[in-house]
Point group: C2
Chain length 265, copies 2
């Protein structure tokens, strides 16, 4: 089943009001940003009387346990990995809301510094996504194992079967997986060359003195560094292949974004 261009409907939580033209509601775009970001920021309200919401950096991945072949363009859930007795797990376990613990999940990448004539028009090329949903503990052992494999393979594709698996009883007991049912989501994406307003573009003094352009920014993996008890001489193919692909795609995205035509701003 292929679903084209599914979008999260706009509601009070996910509607972008500033730089609306940069807003994206497409499931594919939002899910791709979430699944390619190594750390997700997860926010929750620890108690009704606490003034502060809390943000936790967590590792997670979107997928569908009921239909594992689902693509990023389809409705998915977020699986988050944590320690069994951490606060967010305890809150999800005891959440008064039967839907689960309300959470906000954010993922952001900076792809370049956009240096324009005036500080006000400076910008980033970036991709950011936010999801709102309800988190529940995964109790089913099959779903838990499936999610643990999904998350491990998001760190390095195919890593799971190249490590010592299955997890033993102690590992299973100390690991807790949260499943977040998504309520709504949105993304913002900026790519392209600098922009400035007409009055600055007409100011020959500024144009003569201020360099304008983009500094592409991207993540790279260095050479693999074997650990002190490593006995496998050759770095395995699942690691080297991923490193090469990641480094190429990461650089390519930022370099291409730096040269795209001016977005409406």
């Amino acid at each position: 089943m292929v679903r084209h261009n599914l979008e999260y409907p706009k509601d009070v939580h996910n509607t972008v009001n500033r730089y609306k033209h940069q807003a994206v509601y497409s499931l594919t775009t939002i899910h791709t940003i979430i699944n390619t970001t190594p750390v997700l920021h997860v926010s929750f309200q620890p108690s009704p009387t606490d003034p502060f919401p809390v943000i936790l950096p967590m590792i997670g991945q979107m997928g569908s346990f009921s239909r594992p072949s689902a693509s990023l363009s389809e409705p998915l859930e977020v699986y988050l990995h944590g320690y069994v007795s951490s606060r967010i797990m305890n809150l999800a376990r005891s959440s008064p809301d039967t839907k689960g613990l309300p959470v906000c999940i954010a993922a952001s990448k900076v792809d370049g510094l956009v240096l324009s004539l005036t500080p006000n028009s400076h910008n980033y090329n970036y991709r950011s996504a936010v999801l709102f949903g309800y988190a529940k503990l995964v109790d089913d052992v099959e779903e838990k194992l499936w999610a643990m494999e999904l998350i491990t393979n998001s760190v390095v594709p195919d890593r799971w079967r190249h490590s010592r698996v299955p997890p033993n009883a102690g590992e299973m007991a100390s690991t807790q997986i949260l499943r977040v049912h998504i309520d709504s989501g949105s993304a913002k994406v900026r790519e392209g060359v600098p922009t400035d307003v007409k009055s600055d573009l007409a100011d020959s003094q500024s144009l003569k003195t201020v360099w304008t352009g983009v500094l592409p920014l991207y993540e790279q993996f260095g050479e693999p560094v074997p650990g002190p008890y490593n006995e496998v001489k050759e770095v395995p193919e699942h690691v080297t292949t991923y490193r090469e692909r990641f480094n190429g795609e990461s650089m390519q995205y930022a370099e291409t974004a730096a040269r795209k035509s001016a977005p409406v701003e």
Copy 2:
């Protein structure tokens, strides 16, 4: 005045309960992570009746307007940059709490993938910081201009005076700066080679088949890409110097972290 090793006191909000040995309360460490992260994640509760907290990606920087020479080891405030009528600004403007709008600010960097024998012992080398505080609008024009310069120069050092300044009336009117008075904060840092538990280290079959080590991960700037209306032939020194220093330090940190001795886990 030099203050050595000031720490945020542990309280109910900032105390780290999991991987306590990785917890850091040092102002220097926490402020450095915040000030070297290009996007901060800022969380707030939009209303008492809304189930979801909101996370916004924002640009910000720590500093002290009353004592601009203050170092990162001293008490500082966070200055966040935004649009005058955005939701967070409206909430801060109308906050019922006279202290300001309660926010949580998070910054996270991944410095390497730590690939160990079993998925359970996989890890990241990383630096993450979280701050809790109260956000108020900056009304004073001098403080606002000072913060705008601070934030612009955090994107590229010395950029402010190399761009068209001062901001005009329209730019000043559309820009709002939030000042966050910090209540508490903490950080977590992991660096070093992989670790595994004794039973796995004694398992010769795992040792023979699973490659263990670190894939260092770091951000790099590509070559500066001049924009379509750039007239300054040579890329200016404030840009080239920053790029070189950033690329060197960024790579050096991740490569060094990948080789440090095993942390307690």
